[in-house]
């Protein structure tokens, strides 16, 4: 005989059966039966946030750091709408989260009841799928399907909207958790097409100027190891998208750095001049391609993606491969190994050597060397702060960021050698993501060093979570690149709007961040010079503060810009390399 449980108990039991350890949430009327079920069990630990948006970012950070779905519980109405930004963030970056929202009872749905909102409708454009529970007895199956859909194929957020009456503690039903799930209308591809893989390998082996351009799909698809083996075997250069950093070791000599709008000179030049580009788990985002019509004119393009709709969406692929990054790259690697066994000269080594020489010359030209541009005496630079954090953490921290200049500096100057270490909102570009995402990572990895590199603008969008950090004693290290402005907006206004800083500064209205952090029981520090920085950074990461949250307020040069920067409407080789500089030469 199956055990008899209420809808609320079934919901929590189903989460236990999914192996969920943390549930990030905020209670409210429509979710109270569920909250009572949480109270009466020990397996799933509920983390009480201060704002539902932060709950979704925590679940998202947890998912990105572990590969397992993050889970959120919110109430109906404002609880649900507050969760939307985080759901959209997860959707754009294809991270698996499951968001459970309370809903008003079925008999009042559609009557504009208190705290009623059409959650399925309002979230529809930003979810992979959603469920409105129609009957308490379907709860176990809906939960099973939600986790399966969220984490398979191209991952994404799934919403389960639960009317309050389906969680009524007085109505019990037999509980059985479905072992398998099958959906006739949803069968994600599990293997790449053999013929396409053969074509891709032939193209790769004949390449004279190859580039491996890889994105978040490598990280999410657990294919970093295989990509690394392939690049090393062929001795091909690799560039990563913002989402793909860590998918290939950042300290490997074959790594060209990030590409795109703020990508390195060498990465963008290599892309523009390549004859074969292998795009793996990347989607030709506009922040990468610049004008797609001018994109990499000489390149034949192999495009691997688990989502067929990503292929040839922006740039037509010559060799499309639909499939999961890990299994396809294993197939590609095996085939390359076999070809090289049979024909050791299959790769044109001379052409490749000449290609590496050209790349070397590009590297020497810019190579992110900000020190060349700022000799001595200058105010503290954001790049120096990121470099100091990199050194103090041995390049081995989990780093989350928010959105703006600090995000680009972190992506450029912190070199990630492993996947799932760099966690940021790439697609939606959500300010306020960094701190809650770091919290999700810290819950997933309690012993790890977790750094949130943020700016004061982004930080203030979710700073209420300092209270949650106090409640759960999270020892996150927050590095606030404080330029007293919305730096990226200001940079665009400098470059494109004649320096008119329309609503991008608030110099006299900032809080004292040191006291702010201290008021929440945390440690606050402030630095304004390189000398102070070099003292503070080792201290904040020292054993003394191993179990404390430390907030470092780093006052940096407010006029610093992020370079290189793509010239709008150009090709990938159209870049500005320095302040007031001319466009980079096209060769």
């Amino acid at each position: 005989m199956a055990e008899m449980l209420s809808g609320a108990d079934m919901l929590i039991r189903a989460l236990q059966d999914e192996g969920v350890d943390y549930l990030f949430g905020y209670p409210g009327g429509a979710a109270l039966h569920i909250y009572d079920a949480i109270f009466r069990q020990q397996k799933v630990e509920h983390i009480l946030v201060r704002h539902e948006q932060a709950a979704t970012h925590m679940a998202d950070g947890y998912a990105r750091a572990t590969g397992r779905p993050g889970v959120v519980l919110v109430t109906s109405g404002p609880g649900a709408t507050n969760a939307i930004t985080g759901i959209a963030t997860a959707y754009m970056d294809s991270t698996p989260i499951v968001v459970i929202s309370g809903q008003v009872p079925r008999n009042v749905i559609g009557t504009d009841a208190f705290q009623e909102t059409d959650m399925v409708g309002i979230s529809r454009p930003v979810v992979k799928h959603s469920f409105l529970v129609q009957d308490a007895q379907e709860i176990p199956e809906v939960v099973r399907k939600a986790f399966y859909i969220a984490s398979s194929g191209r991952p994404g957020p799934v919403v389960i909207d639960v009317p309050k009456d389906t969680t009524d503690p007085n109505e019990e039903f037999p509980y059985e958790y479905p072992r398998d799930v099958s959906l006739r209308s949803y069968n994600p591809t599990t293997r790449g097409h053999g013929g396409q893989i053969r074509k891709a390998v032939n193209l790769l082996l004949r390449a004279k100027r190859p580039v491996l351009y890889t994105g978040g799909g490598i990280v999410q698809g657990n294919a970093a190891e295989c990509l690394t083996a392939l690049a090393r075997l062929l001795d091909f250069p690799v560039t990563n998208t913002l989402m793909g950093l860590g998918g290939f070791p950042g300290t490997d000599r074959r790594f060209l750095g990030m590409l795109g709008m703020h990508g390195t000179f060498e990465a963008n030049m290599a892309m523009h001049h390549a004859d074969v580009i292998f795009a793996a788990g990347a989607r030709f985002d506009d922040r990468v391609t610049n004008d797609p019509a001018k994109f990499c004119p000489d390149a034949r393009i192999i495009h691997l993606d688990v989502d067929p709709a990503s292929i040839s969406k922006i740039v037509p692929a010559d060799v499309p491969i639909v499939g999961p990054a890990d299994s396809v790259l294993v197939d590609v690697l095996r085939r390359v190994e076999k070809e090289l066994d049979r024909h050791p000269d299959a790769v044109d080594r001379a052409a490749l050597a000449a290609w590496w020489d050209r790349i070397g010359a590009w590297r020497a030209k810019h190579g992110l060397d900000h020190d060349q541009r700022h000799r001595g005496g200058a105010p503290l630079l954001p790049q120096q702060v990121v470099q100091a954090v990199y050194r103090a953490t041995d390049g081995d921290a989990y780093v989350t960021s928010d959105v703006g200049q600090h995000q680009m500096f972190a992506a450029q100057y912190y070199h990630f050698d492993a996947p799932r270490r760099w966690i940021n909102s790439g697609g939606l570009g959500t300010m306020g993501f960094g701190l809650p995402a770091a919290m999700g990572v810290q819950f997933a990895h309690p012993q790890a060093t977790v750094v949130c590199i943020t700016g004061e603008g982004s930080f203030m969008m979710n700073m209420q979570e300092l209270s949650t950090c106090m409640q759960y004693a999270l020892p996150i290290k927050i590095v606030n690149l404080n330029n007293q402005a919305l730096g990226m907006v200001k940079q665009w206004q400098d470059m494109q709007y004649g320096g008119r800083h329309s609503h991008s500064t608030y110099r006299d209205a900032l809080p004292d961040f040191v006291h702010l952090a201290e008021s929440f029981g945390h440690v606050g520090m402030r630095v304004r010079s390189l000398a102070e920085l070099e003292e503070a950074i080792p201290e904040m990461f020292s054993a003394r503060y191993a179990d404390r949250l430390v907030f470092l307020d780093a006052w940096i040069d407010p006029d610093e810009h992020v370079y290189p920067m793509a010239i709008k409407g150009g090709a990938m080789n159209d870049m500005v390399l320095e302040r007031d500089g001319a466009a980079a030469p096209a060769k």
Binding site: V120, G121, R124, P125, K128, H129, S130, L132, Q134, I149, L183, R184, S185, Y186, D307, P308, A309, S312, K313, P316
Partner: protein
Amino acid sequence: MARRIIAVLLENEAGALSRIIGLFAQRNYNIESLTVAPTEDATLSRLTLTTAGDDSTIEQITKQLNKLIEVVKVVDLTDGDHLERELMLVKVRAEGLRRAETKRTADIFRGQIVDVTSDAYTVQLTGPSEKLDAFLRAIGQPAVIEVARSGVAGIGRGDKVLSLK
């Protein structure tokens, strides 16, 4: 910008249709007409929509439709030989001299008069959309009182089948 007829088999579930409509709105694809009804298998609905776009847009439309969890199968009927039919009910002014003329025009188009008043006919007409358009032109705008069109339903010719099997 070719006109295309796309047929979709989807789970007959609450909310499935709204996902399809939402997809078109969200990605700025156009819908000229749309019909939907359950099939002989009550768990499935069949939807036929007409849209227009260049090849890459149509490719994206079919890929994005396929991504929806509740969509079982998608076929672009305009890729091959196919039949398309639309049903129209049109109320036409039919007074005096015009009364006989309207009847004749309906006969020519193989329409049926399904309701009659002293000054109007309601004509039922089926066929490809162009035939329906041609009938309306033949009747002339001033005589048309009200038009109800079903939108296009389509099916592949010969052995081609859109079903679960």
